[in-house]
Amino acid sequence: MTALGLAPVFAAVIRRDLTLALRRRSDVLTTFFFFVIVVSLFPLGVGTQSSMLRSIAPGVVWVAALLASMLALVRLFASDFDDGTLEQLALSPQPLVLLVVAKVFAHWLVSGLPLVLVAPLLGLQFDLPAGALGIMMLTLLVGTPCLSLIGAIGAALTLGVRGAGGLLALLVLPLYVPVLIFGAGAVSAAVAGMPVSGHLSVLGACLLIALVLGPWASAAAVRIAIE
Amino acid sequence: MSWGSPEAFFAMGGYALYVWGAYAVAAACILTELWLLRRRRRTLERAPSRSNGAPGSDRASGQT
C-alpha cells in the first residue's frame, strides 16, 4: 500500500477534528460564550465611564481571549489521547509535528476564529473607535493562533494528568505574556492614535516563532505522554 | 560606617520595617527550606523501604 502524501493526510486530520468539534458543538459554544460573558462583566465591575472603558478595553478583551483560549485547549489532545488515536497519529509515517500543526489549526478554527469575529462587537460595548476595532480584530487574528500554538505545548504536557485544566493555566499563562503585551499594546496605541506597526511586527514575529517551535515542542510532549 | 548606638542600628534611619522586614523574611525562608529538607529526610529514614521488587519504583517527588 502506497504511503499517503503529506497534504492529503494534513487535510484529513483537519477535516476529522473539525467534524468531531462540530459534533460536540456545546464545547465550542461554551468557549465562545465564556469570552463574551467575561468581557461583558468588566463594565459591571469597574463602572461605565467611557474614557476609562476605552482605556481598559484592549487589556480586557485580550485577557478574556487568553482565558477562553485556555479553556478550549484542554480539549485539543484529550479525547484522542483517551481513545488511542493519538498513539496512532504518533506511529503513522507522517511526521507528528505536521499532524500537530493540523490539529492546532483545526482547533483554532473553532475556538480562536470565532473570538476574532465577535471581538469588534464587544469592542463597541467599550466605546472603541472604528479604527481601533479593526486593529483589535487584526491583533486577535495574528495572536489567537499564537495562543493555540503555545497552548498546545501545555495541553500535551498535561495529558491525562489530574487537575489538568488548572495546571495548564499555570503552565501556559506565563508563556502568553509577550503576546498579551503586544496584542493589547497595539490596540491601546490605536485608541491613542499612535502607530501600531511596531506592535504588529513583534506580534507577527511571535506567531512565526510559535509556528516554528511550538508544534515541535508539542510533538515532543505528546511522545512523552504516550510513552 | 559607624552607627551612633545600637538603637540607631535597629532604627535603620526610620526604615527599620522595610530593611528588617526584608531580611527577616529571607532568613525565615532559608530556615524553612532547611527545616523542610531535614524533615523530608527524616521521614524517609523512618519509613521502612518498600520492597516490591521493582528497582527504581517510587512515588512522584513533588515535595520541597
Partner: protein, 246 residues
C-alpha cells in the same frame, strides 16, 4: 589517577560525593554571608538619596541573580537529562527548583519592601520585578507539573520539556515586559540601577551573591541526595546504606 567524571553519574557515587561536599558549601555560604552582611551594614556608607533603605539590595540583588541563574542551571540539567538520558540529571534539576523558587520569592518580597519607601507603592511594575513574578510562576509550574504526574520517568521528561520551553521564553518575556514598562512609566524605573554605587556597596553585594550561590549548591546537593534515596529506595546500595546506619 585520572578523574573519571562519568563515575558520578551513578547515584551511589554521587550520593557519597554530594554528602561530602554539601557541608563545605553551606559552611562557605555562612562565612561569606557573615562577611557580606558585615560589609553591608557596618562598612558601606549611608546612601545619599535613599538613606538606609538601600541596604535591602544586599539581599534583593543576590536573590534575584540566583533566581535567574538557578533557572538556567536547572534548564541545563534538564537538557542533559534529555540528551544523555541520565536519571541523575533530572534529579539534579528537580533538586534545584525549590531553592530557585525560594530565591525568586525573596527577591519579590525584598523588592516590594524596597519599592515602598523608594517609590511609594508596595508593588512597582518595573520590568525586573514583573519578570521575577513570571519567573516564580515558571518555577511553580515546573514543580506542579512534576508533582501532578505519577510516573516518575514521564514526570521528569515533561517537566524537563517545560523548563526548556521556559528558558527560551524568559528572554522574550523579559524584553517584552521591559518594553511594556518603559511605555507605561516613562523614564525607566530600575530598582537595581545605582550608577553612583560606592565600591563598598558593590563589594558587599558581590560577596552576598557568592554566599547565595554557595548556599544554593549546598542545599541542592542535599536535596538531590534525598530525592535519590526516595527514588532508589529498593536499590541495593540504599539498602546497604540503611543497614549501615542501624
Amino acid at each position: 589517577m585520572r578523574l573519571n567524571v562519568w563515575k558520578y553519574a551513578s547515584p551511589p557515587a554521587f550520593y557519597r560525593l554530594a554528602g561530602n561536599l554539601a557541608p563545605w558549601f553551606l559552611g562557605l555560604a555562612a562565612a561569606l554571608a557573615a562577611t557580606g552582611l558585615y560589609i553591608g551594614f557596618f562598612v558601606a556608607p549611608t546612601d545619599f538619596q535613599q538613606g538606609e533603605s538601600y541596604r535591602i539590595i544586599f539581599i534583593h540583588v543576590p536573590a534575584a541573580w540566583m533566581s535567574m541563574f538557578i533557572y538556567a542551571v536547572m534548564a541545563f540539567w534538564c537538557a542533559m537529562g534529555v540528551v544523555l538520558n541520565t536519571r541523575l540529571s533530572f534529579m539534579m534539576a528537580l533538586a534545584l527548583a525549590p531553592t530557585g523558587a525560594m530565591f525568586t520569592f525573596i527577591a519579590l518580597w525584598s523588592g516590594a519592601l524596597w519599592g515602598k519607601p523608594t517609590w511609594g507603592t508596595w508593588w512597582v511594575w518595573d520590568a525586573r520585578l514583573t519578570s521575577e513574578l513570571i519567573l516564580l510562576f515558571l518555577y511553580i509550574g515546573f514543580l506542579s507539573l512534576h508533582a501532578a504526574i505519577d510516573d516518575t520517568r514521564r514526570a521528569d521528561r515533561a517537566a524537563a520539556l517545560l523548563a526548556l520551553v521556559g528558558v527560551i521564553n524568559v528572554p522574550i518575556i523579559y524584553f517584552s515586559v521591559k518594553w511594556w514598562s518603559t511605555l507605561h512609566q516613562g523614564a525607566s524605573v530600575s530598582l537595581t540601577r545605582a550608577p553612583t554605587m560606592a565600591a563598598t556597596m558593590l563589594v558587599g553585594m558581590l560577596i552576598m551573591s557568592l554566599a547565595a550561590w554557595m548556599y544554593a549548591i549546598g542545599v541542592s546537593l542535599l536535596r538531590a541526595r534525598t530525592i535519590m534515596l526516595e527514588r532508589e529506595s529498593d536499590a541495593e546500595w540504599v539498602r546497604e546504606l540503611s543497614a549501615e546506619r542501624r
